[in-house]
Amino acid sequence: MKIKTMSRYRKMVWIRFWIALGFAVLFVVFALFSNHLAPYDPLETHYDHMLEAPSGMFFFGTDQLGRDIFSRILYGGRTSLLIAFLVTAIVAVIGILIGTTAGFLGGVFDAVLMRICDVLLAFPGSIFTIAMVSFIGTGIPNLILAMSITSWTGFARISRSLVLSIKNNVFIEQARMGGASNWKILTVYIIPNVMPSLLVNIFQNIGSKLLTISGLSLLGLGSPPPTPEWGFMLSEGKNFMYQSPWMLGFPGLVILINVVVFNLLSDSIQELMNPKQNNW
């Protein structure tokens, strides 16, 4: 009886995982093929349809220049998701490489790296990112750079502790006895082993980066206009929230849904791998 309920619970988690994954893929496809899916050019202005409420012609209404919000959201996914994905990829690769190497080698290398992490983690990350962007200047490459520099430490920490927990396993000893080099042990035996646990953090990071970007855009540090980007659309919408709340509502809702989907993905992976903890 007990076992049966457990398996039903697990099935539910699997269903949740597939739904979240499906939506995540769907959003990426929307962004990729936005040029085919969008009914209008996102930059095209319709001066006879300014600040128009959602209708059959403009699904999500129009903004102050008469641009179609639906199309802008579709195109905006390119910028927002691209930045979030790129930053996550960069910090994951750098953080995992540094963290696993530090955990694996130990010694001075480990100590120095971990102190650097301590110092960086001792900062309020968001403030550091904001300050960096304000110093190196806005623009998408700079935004990605600043966000990456301030957030690789989390991955380094986690992957280091994961490595420490499997480092003394027998199969590592055996690989070493079989004559595998340090590099080979690291890349063939250790990293693939810690990767699944790190997937949890990777997807969560995508969600949190989407939120960071929207915050930076509000402060005028995001992608430069007129490129459609969700966070920037929100900050434009705030000036017109009284006349046309849809300008604020839809981009916010889209960010919300995207973050929920990526967090859900992260949580269901966590539960599938580690059902006892139920960390959700």
Binding site: R115, D118, V119, L120, A122, F123, P124, G125, S126, I127, F128, I130, A131, M132, S134, F135, I136, G137, G207, L211, S214, G215, L218, L219, G220, L221, G231, L234, K238, M241, Y242, P245, L248, G252, I255, L256, V259, V260, N263, L264, K276, Q277, N278, N279, W280
Partner: protein
């Protein structure tokens, strides 16, 4: 215990050193020369003579560490440079606006604790029951919302539709309600999840079944056993989340027109007022580091294992 505090203070010095080097080093990231920035901030002409004089006076041609030392010395004497935007020393701007930000951060922090402790505990205790699902759902949504979007929604309902709270500004005590709600609610979403995770982990420990089999009441198990055992992890996270809260004040202050250091820094960014940004980062970093130090030391006192160790010595 004393040794522990000494170690913490030592690492504090390292961290503060790192903080100051990074803050100072940021000027080297500027696309333009620090001299040009300085000339702009003083409103001087860009000619050979001025540059040479400034070089002589401020030593811009000196090596990094010499310049850094000079700057740090200035910081210790309260000299953060002059703000271009406000046309007064950065120190004065900070002194005027920092208290407002600290006030907002503290009220939000309190609200966060008031919301997240009961909900997090309830969610763990009623795990996989209806209450848990509702709390989890709400915190999931709350954690996925852009902070300022939530603030905007609050403005829309309480400020514009119901007209019971001021939309922005600084006029009455009511002004602090919406910024506090925005920050407190959106950060407690994350925190509820953490508290729940820690408590759930404790609840699955074996000593819980032991207590249950001895007939200890549920209330007692939770409040005298599970909660004290989870407190260490929870308090550590509390310190960490304060950093996010400080960063969040910038956005919330901007949205609500709160006259704090965050909105001043925001204005400084668009005015390219680098000394003010530097002062802002330095102070925010300092507050964050200090709060975490306080948290660290305070749970040394909360944890009876360490406290007893102290009495024996």
């Amino acid at each position: 215990m004393l040794k522990l505090i000494r170690n913490r203070l030592l690492s504090l010095i390292v961290i503060l050193f790192g903080l100051s080097v990074l803050t100072y080093g940021m000027t080297y990231l500027l696309p333009s020369n620090p001299i040009d920035v300085m000339i702009d901030s003083m409103g001087l002409p860009h000619d050979e003579e001025t540059i040479e004089n400034l070089n002589k006076e401020y030593g811009f041609d000196a090596p990094f560490w010499v310049q850094y030392g000079k700057w740090l010395n200035g910081v210790f004497h309260g000299n953060f440079g002059r703000s271009v935007k406000y046309q007064e020393p950065v120190k004065d701007v900070l002194a005027r606006k920092l208290p407002n930000t600290v006030k907002l951060a503290c009220t939000s922090f309190l609200l966060m604790i008031v919301i997240s402790f009961p909900l997090g505990i309830a969610s763990a205790v009623y795990r996989n029951k209806l209450a848990d699902y509702i709390i989890r759902f709400l915190s999931f949504i709350g954690g996925a919302m852009p902070t300022f979007w939530f603030g905007m929604i609050l403005i829309f309902f309480f400020g514009v539709r119901l007209k019971i709270l001021p939309v922005s500004g600084f006029s009455s005590w009511k002004s602090i309600i919406m910024p506090t709600l925005t920050l407190g609610v959106s950060y407690s979403a994350f925190y509820i999840r953490r508290i729940r995770a820690v408590m759930v982990e404790q609840l699955s420990e074996e000593y819980i079944s032991g207590l249950k089999s001895r007939g200890v009441s549920r209330r007692r198990i939770i409040f005298s056993h599970v909660l004290p055992n989870s407190l260490l992890a929870i308090i550590t996270m509390l310190g960490m989340s304060f950093g996010g809260l400080l960063g969040g004040t910038m956005i919330v202050e901007t949205v609500f027109g709160w006259n704090g250091i965050g909105s001043a820094a925001m204005a400084a960014i668009s005015a390219r007022d680098y000394y003010l940004i530097q002062g802002y980062v330095l102070w925010m970093g300092f507050i964050y580091v200090m709060v975490n130090l306080f948290v660290d030391i305070s749970y040394q006192f909360i944890d009876p294992r360490i406290r007893r160790g102290m009495q024996q010595r």
